[in-house]
């Protein structure tokens, strides 16, 4: 499998008033085309920092100290190097936690999609924008794209909104999609549907998906590989069965033991 996203030895720290705080410490991670890689770990373990560092959405006081992020063989992030503006919205799409807050409340879905398309597809006409918008919503298994296009975010249900947010991330046909806790705000039924949608999209479009979540069960359902993070380090990674059935690290065992069970 060709590696689409290749993170090697990435170390990132934040400058604070009283010194430096190491946020990522020598992180290695690979995502291949058509592959779903889950990043799991407790709050503050560096999952979101890792996801955001790939697209250069870090706070101003955060700097890359060592390591690289390569996308399809090109270095996009390295110490003193930030070429993420070339890949944001084109090669990489991003889905956030809560779609009720990740869409501009004053804009209809049509405007959201149109804006991204016009920004990244040069000279795209009105008819093409409309056609592609409908197409991508249909890809999101939205049965009534015309109505959804004419709706404001608050007029849609949570699951529908998150589908629109995913559509927005893939409308420009990126190679990699990063989903940052994008199912956390949804109820379990909707979560399952969104996860199923991701699997279908990855299979259909051959994209790579970096799926950040704190939900181990969800990750085990969806992902091909899992990376377990703790204190800014990837403590364990491998195939889902390897990591979950035969965890080698204490930390992973503790995470697994923390999953509530009904038996």
């Amino acid at each position: 499998m060709t590696s689409l996203l290749h993170v090697s030895g990435l170390s990132i720290s934040a400058r604070l008033a009283d010194g430096h705080l190491r946020l990522l410490d020598g992180v290695d991670l690979d995502v291949g085309r058509g592959q779903i890689v889950g990043v799991v770990g407790e709050s503050g373990s560096g999952k979101t920092t890792l996801a955001r560092s790939v697209v250069g959405l870090l706070e101003r006081n955060v700097t890359v100290e060592a390591g690289t992020v390569e996308l399809a063989g090109d270095v996009v992030v390295a110490p003193g190097v930030d070429r993420t503006d070339r890949i944001r919205g084109t090669a990489v799409g991003m889905v956030f936690q809560d779609a009720s807050r990740s869409l501009n409340p004053l804009m209809k879905v049509r405007t959201h999609l149109g804006e991204v398309l016009r920004r990244h597809v040069h000279g795209i006409g009105k008819a093409d924008v409309e056609r592609r918008s409908v197409e991508v919503l249909e890809q999101m298994r939205i049965s009534d794209p015309a109505r959804v296009l004419d709706s404001y975010p608050h007029q849609l249900s949570g699951g529908l909104r998150q589908r629109v947010a995913i559509g927005l991330a893939v409308v420009t046909r990126p190679a990699l999609v990063i989903a940052d806790e994008c199912t956390t705000a949804l109820d379990v039924t909707t979560q399952t549907k969104v996860v199923a949608l991701f699997r279908t999209l990855v299979d259909e479009l051959g994209i790579g998906l970096l799926f950040v979540t704190h939900d181990l069960m969800l990750a085990s359902d969806l992902c091909d590989r899992i990376a377990v993070m703790s204190r800014g380090q990837v403590v364990e990674q491998g195939g889902v069965e390897d990591v979950l059935d035969r965890p080698r690290q204490d930390y992973t065992r503790r995470l697994l033991a923390a999953i509530p069970s009904w038996t």
């Binding site: 944001r88 991003m94 956030f96 869409l103 939205i142 049965s143 849609l156």
Partner: protein, 294 residues
Amino acid sequence: MTRVSQLELDLKPAEAPRRSKRTSAFWLAVPIAVVAVAVFVLPLTGLLPAAGQDLNATRQPPGFLSGGSWSHPLGTDKLGQDLLTQFIEAGRLTIMIGLVGAVVAIGPGTLLGLLAGYFRGWVDRVISVLIDAQLALPFILVALAIIANRGSSLPVLFLVLALTGWAVCARVTRSATLAIRERQFVLGLRAAGASELRIVFRHILPNLGGTIVALGTLQVGTAILIESALSFLGLGVVPPMNSWGSLLAAGQDELSTAWWIAFFPGFAVTVLVLLVNLLGDAMLTHYDPRKRRR
């Protein structure tokens, strides 16, 4: 290990949004439009009483009071000048001062607040120091200094209104922008590759709509009241021009003998400022799709 890809993905269609009916903004705009038409169109029709002095009919009460006559529907002042004619003429100037005064304060204030709040860093520090400096100066001192230097005229009045109004607008806009820039959709826009300027002007500015409308309606009222205060001090509108503020000032000496001279301009200022504030409220509701009646 089970895969969930085979689960059904169908959705229940939610209820379709219904079209909103005429909102209260529309019904509030009606009286304001009526006032504007009356004030701007009536003088052109030649229906108003002549503007000259009539020393035989000084301090006449309005037509609906005993001793009044319908040839002077709102009565006359101490020189026998018709008050309705003055009232309409003054209203034109007052409305203009209110609108222009709000625009000159809100325009630069909003722009600076937006830039300070979004870009932070040194941009914010420079603009915030300017805001603090401006707010530290008493308004009347600024007004006196400018008017003493430049004389009293409409452009100078607008300069005073801009200088005394921008800082509050900038500070309010700045804090609102600080809150909006932390919202997730801004991060989403950056992740989708939108440019900074596009985020600021296409996304954050419209989300400040409510704040700006509220500031705008407040500022219209403030501009009218500041103008009235300056006119009262003889620093605002100078004769032969009149505003409701200067009419109010002229009538206040005679409140005990001829109350109607001050009453109608004062009442009009109050009602106009109230209407503009209500209109702002209603526009806010109309403007935000989440608050619209559905």
